[in-house]
């Protein structure tokens, strides 16, 4: 069958295995071809596709919860959506969440996902106490900060290349309501946006939507949004009695592939201008339910069809604090100049780097979607070059097309990772289309 990531590019022909227990999983590791584990397929590129792909969907049981510490033990195929369904009504929420709740625990660890609170609280690894990993020989070992610490560290951001994550213990966060107190700060350009980041460093959540088609004085025009979990006394009186009741979102299906020509620089420019004006009008404080705040795109099932059958790609880089502002400016200029259509680009402030191959580094991260076409592909090497020149790196969970050379120049940490994999015999058992493309 044909498998792809969320960006629907590239599509790889291969076999999808769906083992139901550890024995069946271990048996798959006996074969000569290496395998890669796959959760809900939300990585954008080819991180979770291979000739032999192993779906972890049958490993979807919760195992234990300690209401004193908030520690949840669950199998790797359990999703954040399932965790929220079960625990939000009891006053718990994932400590770190990416922009979709349809990710599994295994995937969140493998990509060491970050959320809107990276600057204040760190990545997914910061709240993971331990996990069980099936190694190349099919044996299962428990990894934590104390036991098998090196393997533990290398697995965060290791993209499933250190073994198959079977189950994990993560710490949830106590919350008092299902609502977020959001503050919207319009920024007319990049300087204002970065200034707003500096001023909101102590906010729990902070993210900016950035209009990549703005030029000149409007370059980097953004809406900076901070958020805090609301306390019941901050809710309108009629909501205080049941603070975890939020409107249930109806899933809006996206039933067909949009023809490629619908998204062009003109329609996207018009959309972005409208979005900015509507946002600026809402400047100030407001209450937003958790689903709209963290997962606005989850409301539209299969929104990846928006980009048509050819799919799309996402460029996400991290730039260091020093010189990061210049790097961002150059990236935005290059994007605006190219006229490649991108909307809902996201800019964020990152906190310090943790872990040997985890993506985030102290500084900024910029993420933008591009429809898969010649113009976008032509732009990528230029964005890569600017990233390299400013000491930045690219996020493997989003990557579908980077070259080995770009990886070497942006993120030399992977050569040590590759050596470790070879010595431990992991490279013969675990590989994805991405790891083969990048020589990991």
């Amino acid at each position: 069958m044909e498998l792809s990531g969320w960006g629907r590019y590239p599509r790889i022909k291969g076999q999808l295995h769906e083992p139901r227990d550890e024995a069946a999983l271990a048996a798959l590791l006996q074969a000569d071809t290496p395998v890669i584990a796959r959760g809900l397929g939300r990585s954008y590129g080819d991180s979770a596709v291979a000739a032999q792909t192993v779906s972890m969907r049958h490993f979807d049981r919760m195992i234990d919860f300690d209401p004193d510490s908030g520690q949840l033990v669950a199998e790797a195929g359990v999703s954040l959506a399932g965790i929220i369904d079960a625990f939000l009504p009891r006053g718990w929420f994932p400590s770190v969440t990416p922009g979709t709740k349809f990710v599994t625990l295994g995937g969140a660890i493998a990509a060491d996902v970050h959320g809107k609170n990276h600057h204040s609280e760190g990545a997914f690894s910061a709240f993971t106490d331990w996990f069980d990993l099936m190694g190349a020989d099919g044996r299962v070992i428990r990894c934590s900060r104390d036991a098998n610490a090196e393997l533990f560290a290398n697995t965060f951001g290791g993209m499933g290349l250190t073994g198959i994550i079977l189950r994990a213990a993560i710490r949830l966060r106590r919350i008092e309501s299902g609502w977020i107190r959001q503050t919207m700060i319009p920024a007319r350009n990049l300087d204002e946006a970065l200034e707003a980041f500096d001023e909101t460093m102590d906010a729990t959540y902070c993210v900016a939507w950035i209009d990549c088609l703005g030029t000149g004085d409007n370059l980097g025009r953004s809406l900076v949004m901070t958020g805090e979990h609301a306390r019941p006394d901050e809710l309108p009186p009629e909501r205080r009695a049941r603070p975890f009741d939020t409107p249930r979102h109806r899933d809006i299906p996206f039933p067909f592939d949009l023809p490629g020509f619908v998204l062009n620089p003109y329609t996207v420019r018009a959309f972005n201008a409208l979005y900015y004006r509507m946002g600026a009008r809402k400047a100030g404080d407001g209450l937003v339910d958790w689903d709209s705040y963290f997962y606005p795109l989850d409301a539209v099932q299969h929104w990846n069809r928006l980009y048509g059958r050819r799919g799309f790609m996402q460029f996400q880089c991290a730039l260091p604090l020093e010189g990061g502002d210049t790097g961002l400016r150059r990236l935005l200029e290059a994007i605006a100049r190219s006229g490649a259509a991108s909307f809902l680009a996201v800019l964020k402030r990152f906190g310090p780097q943790t872990g040997p191959v985890s993506f985030p580094m102290e500084g900024y991260t910029l993420a933008l979607d591009f429809p898969m076409n010649r113009r976008s592909l032509a732009l990528m090497p230029e964005l890569d070059r600017i990233t390299i020149e400013h000491g930045g790196r690219l996020y493997l969970a989003k990557d579908s097309r980077m070259s080995r050379e770009t990886l070497r120049q942006t993120d030399p940490r992977w050569s040590e990772f590759t050596r470790m994999r070879h010595e431990a015999g992991l490279d013969r058992r675990f590989a994805s289309a991405q790891s083969q493309r990048l020589g990991l």
């Binding site: 979807d60 049981r61 919760m62 195992i63 234990d64 399932g82 079960a86 009891r90």
Partner: protein
Amino acid sequence: MSAPVLILGARSDIARACAHRFAQAGHPLVLAARDAATLEADAVDLRLRHGVTVDCVDFDATDSAGHGAFVDALDPLPAVAICAIGAMGDQLESQRDPVAAAAVFRANFEGPALILGELAQRFEARGTGTLVGISSVAGERGRASNYVYGAAKAGFTAFLSGLRNRLARSPVQVTTVLPGFVATRMTEGMDLPARLLAQPDEVANAIFRAVEKRRDVIYVRPIWRLIMAVIRALPEFVFKRTRL
């Protein structure tokens, strides 16, 4: 306190999906299957996610002599009983080996019918209850590719229909479920058309709604009603030449 639900054959994918659907609505569960200790991981998951009580009990559908004692031991008697017991077997083996064929009859007809019959007696005496039998479209007309399984399911469907007829004047509801193709362990590796292939969650949702609305016979995807109407309407001299 919501009404307790008994799920027979609780290890199957459809049964597991039903367990989650009913637990989500707050129903306490009793999961019954052979080797009940192995259901414990599912039970823990159900308790954690939905905060309901879940008990696991040993049950062997083919041990018909033990059915009475099994039902006696249920305390309280459940309000809803869902029977998801079944096994496709291997048609070629069933053709060659009468012992294998008998096992398919027992697993898909005799066992499910007798345990629901036993529960029907208790529900009728109590004056309330819902019995759900998961049968199969394979029982609507025997086909060369799986008629041993199909014949057993036909027997089960007829049994449920008769039971429903008998209990029509009592408050006890009997629901027949004809799921069509479902993505389960049973159909793993088969090349089935996606439009006709339901997910276990979909079947569980349909069963949940059917119990709420006291429906008699449900197909999970409406298209199956049409397909089966056509298959049933084919004259035998045509049907016998088909390869379905």
